[in-house]
């Protein structure tokens, strides 16, 4: 492996960007391809497929044998709102392998006593999401019930192409939210990506049950994320 390729690959992985190491098994040469980089022909199709599926593998193309090792960032879950649901969601997300963080500017809610062992930011979403940007491998759940806080995060989540965007609230609350997002210039298709009411429909009633429903919906979206990522890449290409 070319040392330069290893450095480049590690840099991409640490920056939470999807990257692929392509090795020609005939001559041992390799190169790093970033998601969205143009690659021509049948090899390009194989590369695209590998990014979408997240699966590494061999490819025989025009008599040559290649190994495509795809590195997709581990999923992250950003929860806006240090509420009762988030307290139940935090340990669940950890067990499911999601790196979860909570953002809530209301310092009475966002206390380390209520949220031990989790990244907690007692700041406005617009400030913290500037420093810690959202990306297509991040899920965002807004659960504060306060439009001043929730909308800032929703706006950014939709723009970043997050693989999951969920918003807590009744149908009536969501209808008002849709109007506000339309006024901000979002299209109906974009707004339709928001999961609301939040969580899979399992009849959840308690905060812990709602957390189960949200976690399940996030996992479902991640496992089916291929299509949405492709749409986002086309849009930003």
């Amino acid at each position: 492996m070319d040392p330069y390729c290893l450095k480049k690959l590690n840099a991409e992985r640490q920056a939470r960007r999807a990257a692929l190491l392509l090795t020609d098994l005939g001559d041992g040469r390799d190169r790093v391809i970033r998601e969205g980089d143009p690659v021509a022909g049948l090899l390009g199709d194989a590369v695209k497929q590998a990014f979408l599926s997240g699966k590494s593998g061999l490819a025989e193309i025009e008599g040559r044998s290649f190994f495509l090792n795809v590195h997709v960032p581990p999923p992250r879950l950003v929860v806006i709102g240090a509420v009762h649901i988030s307290q139940a969601l935090a340990p669940m997300a950890k067990i499911a392998g999601y790196d979860m963080e909570i953002v809530d500017p209301r310092t009475a809610f966002a206390t380390p006593e209520r949220f031990p062992d989790i990244k907690l930011f007692a700041e406005w979403p617009q400030d913290i999401l500037e420093q810690r940007p959202l990306d297509p491998y991040t899920a965002v759940a807004v659960v504060t019930h306060d439009p001043k806080i929730d909308d800032q995060a929703l706006e950014r989540a939709l723009k970043a192409g997050c693989f999951y965007v969920g918003a807590l609230g009744s149908r009536k609350t969501h209808a008002k939210r849709v109007e506000r997002l339309k006024a901000l210039g979002f299209s109906e298709d974009e707004i339709a990506l928001i999961h609301s009411p939040i969580g899979l429909d399992i009849g959840a009633a308690s905060p812990a049950e709602i957390a189960v429903a949200v976690m399940a919906e996030v996992i479902k979206a991640f496992r089916a994320r291929g299509l949405q990522t492709a749409r986002h890449l086309e849009k930003t290409a």
């Binding site: 492996m1 070319d2 040392p3 290893l6 450095k7 690959l9 590690n10 992985r13 640490q14 090795t23 098994l25 041992g28 699966k55 590494s56 593998g57 061999l58 190994f67 090792n69 795809v70 590195h71 960032p73 581990p74 392998g97 790196d99």
Partner: protein, 110 residues
Amino acid sequence: MQNPTEQIRDPLLIAESWMAEGRDVAIATVVETWGSAPRPVGSHLVIDEAGHFEGSVSGGCVEGSVIAEAMDVISQGTPRMLEFGVADETAWQVGLSCGGRIKVYVERLG
């Protein structure tokens, strides 16, 4: 990278730091699996010239022979494709007892 602990154990990051320390390094990668294989395609084992290693290409059953091959790859520089599995007599000796088969590509870094 999920958390600091996991980041520390990441074989490709370790390979990079070993390289920076001036150590000779080989990288082994699972490129194909059949049947029940313990580690998925794309998994890495990294080895230095003194036989230190991090990561895994199986549940521990074939690492020993991959490390031995990696020593040769480090000294000769030519990549090798190794195959372990039930179809191979030696595979039983090194013990891929889970019944699967794996193909491992071993190359020198640099």
